[in-house]
Amino acid sequence: MSSLSAHGRLTIVAALAAWLSVLPLFAITQTDDWIVPAAIAVALVSGTGYVLRKLGVPSLLVPVAQLAVIVLWLGVLVANDVALLGFIPTTDWATRLVDVFQEGLDVTSTFVAPIPVPRGVLMLVIGGAGVVALLVDTLVVWLRRVPLAGVPLAACYTVAATAMTTGLDWWWFLPPAAGFLALLVSEGRTRVAAWGRSASPSARRSGIPETDSLARNGRRVGAVALAVAVAVPGLAPVLTEGVLGPGRGGGGGGGQTIRTDNPIIDLQRNLQRRENVEVLRYSSSADTEAATYIRIVTLDVFDGEEWKTSDRPVPDSVDSGLPWPQGLDQADWPVIDYDINVSPDFSSSWLPLPYPAQRIDVEGDWRYHAPTLDVVADGDDVRARSYNVQSLVVEPTVEALRNAGPPSDDVDAMLELPEELPSEVTDLADDVTGDATDDFSKAAALQQWFRGPQGGFEYDIESTSGHTANALVDFLNDRRGYCEQFAATMAIMARYLGIPARVAVGFTAGDYQGNGTYLVRAHDSHAWPELYFEGSGWVRFEPTPAAITGRAPDWTVVPTQNAPVPDPTDPNAPTSQPTSTAPSIPRDDELGGGAASGGQQPPSQWPLILLGALALAAFFATPSVAARIGRRLRWRQAGDHPGALAEAAWADLREAARDAGHSWDPAATPRSTGRRLATAASLGDDDRQLLDHLVGAVEQARYARQAEPVEALHDDTELVRRSIARSASIGRRIKAFLLPTQYRDSAVEANRRLVEGFDWIDATGERLRDSVAASSLRRRLPAPRPPAE
C-alpha cells in the first residue's frame, strides 16, 4: 500500500465529503444527470488544490485558482461553442455564462421543487458543488478548521430542505452528515499522527501511526450522534395524521387518489392534503401564454344552504364539438390547443377543461352541458386519461364589460336567490358597491374589497367548511376563509346586485415545468366566481387574496385615476404564472390546526394552547406515571405473599433512594443499607423506625426459614419513600420526575448494548480488512514451486 501524505488524505476526504453533501439536491431536481459534471467539478477543485499546494504556491492563491477552475469548467459545459478550443474564454463566452446564470436564477425563482434542469440550473448546481468543494477544501486542508466545514457541507441540504414544500425525506441528511464525520475522524487521526511515529504493524502498513482506537471512538460517537439526530426528531410528537388518525383533510380511504364526487368537499380536502399529489399536466403549442385555470364543474344553483350543480340533462356528446359559450359575442377569438394528461392518482367523472372549450378529442362517452360547458361521463372516469382540447382565449376589455347591456333572459335563472338572505350579506354588498353605477364596476368593487386591505380578509384553509347562510355570515364576520368561501360569497353578492353569477370549481394554472408544460397538483385546487356580462359571456373573477392566486384577471380590475392597481400584495407576480401556490399556507396552518375543528364559533387559539400544554405535560409526566404504575403492579403481583411484598417494598425503597440521589450499594446488606440511607437522607426518628421495619421485613423475607406477614408494610413504605424524596434537592426531584431511576437504568443498558453493537461492527470491519490484506499479500507472493523430482 502506498503511503499517502496527511495532505493527500485530507484532500481526498474533503472532496468526498463535498460530493456527498451535494446529493440532497437529487430530491429537488427532476433529472439526475448533473451528478457526473458536479463530481468532476469537485474533483477539479480538489485536484487543483492538491497540486498547487504540492508545488508550493502561496496558500492564498489556491482558492483563487480553484474558483477559476470552476468557472472554466462551467464554460466548458455551457459555452464551449463560443470559446477558443472549447475552453479559452472570449467575450461571447462571458456573456453566455452571465446569461445562463441569469436563466438559472429565473428558473429557480419560478418553479416549485422538483425543478427541471435546463442548462441554467445545471450551471447553478455544478457551480454550487464546486464552491462547496472549494470552501471545504480551504477550511480543511489549508486552515485546518474542520468543524467549520460543517457549514458549507450543510448548504445543499439546507437548500433542498427549504425548497421542498412537502419536506425532505430524512435519509437525505445522511450523506452530508457521513461526509462530515469522515472529515472529523480523518482530521483527528492526522492531528494525532503529527505527534510521532508508531511501531504497531498496522501503522507501518498504512503509513500512519496507530490511531485505530481514536478512530473507533470517533466512529462510535459519530454513529451514535447521527442515529440520535435522525431518530429523535422522528420520535418527537407532532400532530399529524400519522399520530391522530386521518385528519379532516386526510382523504380517508382514498389513499393517494384524489376523487371529485362532491366538488366542494373534495376541494378543501385536496388543499389540506399533506402530500401535494400530482393531478394533471397540460401543455400547449403556445408556450407560456397557455397558462389557464382548469375547470372541473360549475355550481350554478344556490339553494340558501350551498352552491350545487343544477339538474342538467346532458344529451349531446362532445364528439361533434361544443356549442359557442353562453353570452359571448361571435368574434375571431384566438384558439389554443391543449394536450392534457391526467395522473393515475386523480379520479373524476368530470373532465378537467379550460374554459371555454370548443373541441375535445377524448376516448369514451363524454357529454357536455351547454350553458356551463361542463363535460361529464356516465360511468366513465378521467383517471390516467390523455386528451386534446381546443379552447378559446377570451380576454374581454374593461370597456366591453362596462358597456355590457342588461343580461339576456337565458341567464335569469342565474340570478335566483333564496327569499331571505342574511342582512349582513345584503348590507355589506350595498355598502361596498355604493359608489358603483354599472354592473361591472360593482363586480370589480366587490373583488377589490375581498382582495384588498379594505375587506381585511385572511386566507385560512382550516376555516369551517361550507357556504351555507350561517357559514356565510361567519365568514363575513371573521374575515377568514379559503377560496371556496370567497367565491361563494362573491357570487351570492353579485346575484343580489343583479349580476348573473355562478361558482366554478377546478384548479389554478399550476407550475410551469418548461417546454410549455404545466403541472397541476392537489394543492392547486381552487374555486372562483364567474359573472355574466352580455357580449363577454361568463367572466372569471378572483376574490381570493393574491397570496394564493396571484393577480386578478386583467379585465376585472378597474383602472382608477388615483391608485394604479388595487393589488398591493403581489406586484411582482407575472400574470400568466402564479408563482406562489396554495401549499405554502395550508401546510403551515395544518401543523398546529389539527385540534381547532368544527363548530360555528370562530376558532379560538385557547383550546389549542391548552391542548399543547396538556400534551407537553403528559409527555414529561409519562415516565414518572409509568414508574408509579410499575410500582403498583409490583405490589399487585406480590399479592399477599409476605416475601414478595417485602421485596416490593424494598424495590420501592431502592428506587426512591436512587431517585433522591443516594447511592445504593449492591454489596451492602439490607441492614447496613438502611443505616446508610437513614444517615444520607437525615431521616427523623419516626422514619428511622419505619425504615427498620422495612429492613426487618426484607431480612425476614430473604433469610428466615419462613417469611411472616408484616403489617402495614405498604403504608410504611409510602411514608419512608416520601421522607426520602423530601430529602432530595429540588433539582434532584425534577430529574427524578422527568427520568425515574428505573428508566435511566434501562437507558444506560440500551446505550451499553448500542456501543457494544458498534464495537462489534468495528471489529468485524477490521477483521475483514486484515483478511483482505492478508489474502492480497498471499497473492503477491510467488506460488511455491513443486518439489523437483
Partner: protein, 337 residues
C-alpha cells in the same frame, strides 16, 4: 489435678437427638451473663469475648495470636470459669511429648491392668499455651484431637468432653526456637483472634481491680457445661437461607481469585464461616443468619487462612483489609424475580 476420668460422660448425641427445650431467648440471656462475667475480668474487649463465646457455641477452636501479657490465657481461663467446666492448660515446650497431650496407659500393679491416664486434652476448655514452641509431632497430636474430638490410645478410643474447645496461643514476635503452625494446621482453627493492648482507661481500671488479688477469684460461674452443650445444639438449628450460603461461597471463592492473595480460603473455611455465623445469630437471639453476620465474622474466620502476595504485603495490605475489600465488592444475592 483433674478428677478421675470418666469416659463417655459427655457422649455427643446422634442425629436423632431431641430438640432441646431451650429457646433462643435463653441463649441470648446466657450469652449476656457469660459475657458480662468474662467482661469483669477482661476489661474493654467485649468484641473479643463475644467472638470467643461464638466459637465455643459453634464447636470451633480459637487461635489467639498476640504479644505476651495481654491476657490470652486469662481469656481462656475466665471463659472456663464463667461456665463452670473443666479447664486444662498445656504449656507447649520443645520437649513436650504427644502422650503428654493425649494421655498414656500405665500398668496398675494393684489391679494388674493397664490403666489410662488422660492427657491435658481431656477437659472442656484446653488452653494450649505457646503452641508454636512444641515440635510439629506434638502439635499435630493436639490438632488431631481438635478435629476428631476423640483420643485413641493403645487401640482404645476415648471421647473428649463436650463442649470442647481448644484455645491455642501463639507469640508472633519470638522466632527463635519456634515451629510456626503451617497453613494446613492453622486452617483447623475456626478463628484467629488478637487481644490487642487494652485502652488506657481499661488498663487503669485493671490496675485498680486486679492490682492486689487474682483476677479470677471473684468470678463466679453463671452457667454450666451441660447448659452450654444444650445451647450448642440449639445453635445447630439456626436457619441458613440459600441466599446466605450463596453469599458465603461467593466470599470464599473471591479469596481464591483475588490477585492480592497467594492462598485463598478452603471449603472448610466456608463451613466454619457458616457455623460461626449461626452461633453469632443465635447470640443475637435470631433464628436465622443475616449477611451482616457473615460480614462481621469474615475477617476473624478467614483472616488466618489467607496468604497475601508479596505485593500486597509491600503495600501493607494484610488479610483482614483484603477481606474487608472483598466484602465491599461482592453483591448480595438478589432474590429471583
Amino acid at each position: 489435678m483433674p478428677e478421675p476420668f470418666n469416659p463417655g460422660h459427655h457422649q455427643p448425641q446422634g442425629p436423632g437427638e431431641v430438640v432441646p427445650e431451650l429457646a433462643l431467648g435463653d441463649l441470648a440471656d446466657t450469652a449476656a451473663r457469660v459475657q458480662a462475667a468474662i467482661g469483669s475480668v477482661i476489661e474493654g474487649k467485649p468484641e473479643v469475648i463475644k467472638l470467643a463465646f461464638t466459637v465455643l457455641l459453634a464447636e470451633g477452636h480459637i487461635l489467639i495470636e498476640d504479644v505476651p501479657g495481654v491476657g490470652k490465657t486469662m481469656l481462656a481461663k475466665s471463659v472456663a470459669r464463667a461456665i463452670d467446666c473443666t479447664v486444662r492448660r498445656i504449656q507447649f515446650t520443645p520437649d513436650l511429648m504427644p502422650s503428654d497431650v493425649t494421655g498414656v496407659s500405665v500398668f496398675n500393679q494393684s489391679t494388674r491392668e493397664f490403666e489410662f491416664k488422660p492427657g491435658g486434652v481431656f477437659a472442656n476448655i484446653v488452653v494450649g499455651d505457646e503452641i508454636n514452641r512444641a515440635s510439629p509431632k506434638t502439635q499435630s497430636a493436639l490438632l488431631e484431637c481438635m478435629e476428631e474430638r476423640q483420643v485413641t490410645v493403645d487401640g482404645t478410643t476415648y471421647q473428649l468432653e463436650a463442649p470442647f474447645m481448644v484455645v491455642a496461643t501463639q507469640n508472633p514476635i519470638e522466632m527463635e526456637g519456634t515451629y510456626p503452625l503451617p497453613e494446613a494446621q492453622r486452617d483447623r482453627f475456626m478463628m484467629r483472634l488478637s487481644m490487642g493492648y487494652p485502652s488506657q482507661q481499661a488498663e487503669i481500671e485493671m490496675i485498680d481491680t486486679h492490682g492486689s488479688t487474682s483476677a479470677l477469684d471473684p468470678l463466679e460461674p453463671v452457667t454450666d457445661a451441660a447448659h452450654v452443650h444444650k445451647l450448642v445444639r440449639l445453635v445447630r438449628g439456626v436457619y441458613v437461607a440459600d441466599a446466605i450460603k450463596e453469599y458465603a461461597v461467593a466470599l470464599t471463592s473471591a479469596t481464591r481469585t483475588s490477585p492480592d492473595l497467594r492462598l485463598g480460603a478452603s471449603p472448610r473455611a466456608t463451613l466454619h464461616l457458616i457455623r460461626a455465623a449461626k452461633a453469632w445469630a443465635g447470640l443475637e437471639g435470631r433464628e436465622y443468619v443475616l449477611p451482616d453476620d457473615i460480614q462481621a465474622l469474615a475477617a476473624p474466620v478467614l483472616g488466618h487462612r489467607l496468604l497475601p502476595t508479596a505485593e500486597a504485603q509491600i503495600g501493607r495490605r494484610d488479610a483482614g483489609s483484603i477481606v474487608a475489600d472483598l466484602i465491599q465488592r461482592i453483591p448480595q444475592p438478589e432474590p429471583a424475580r
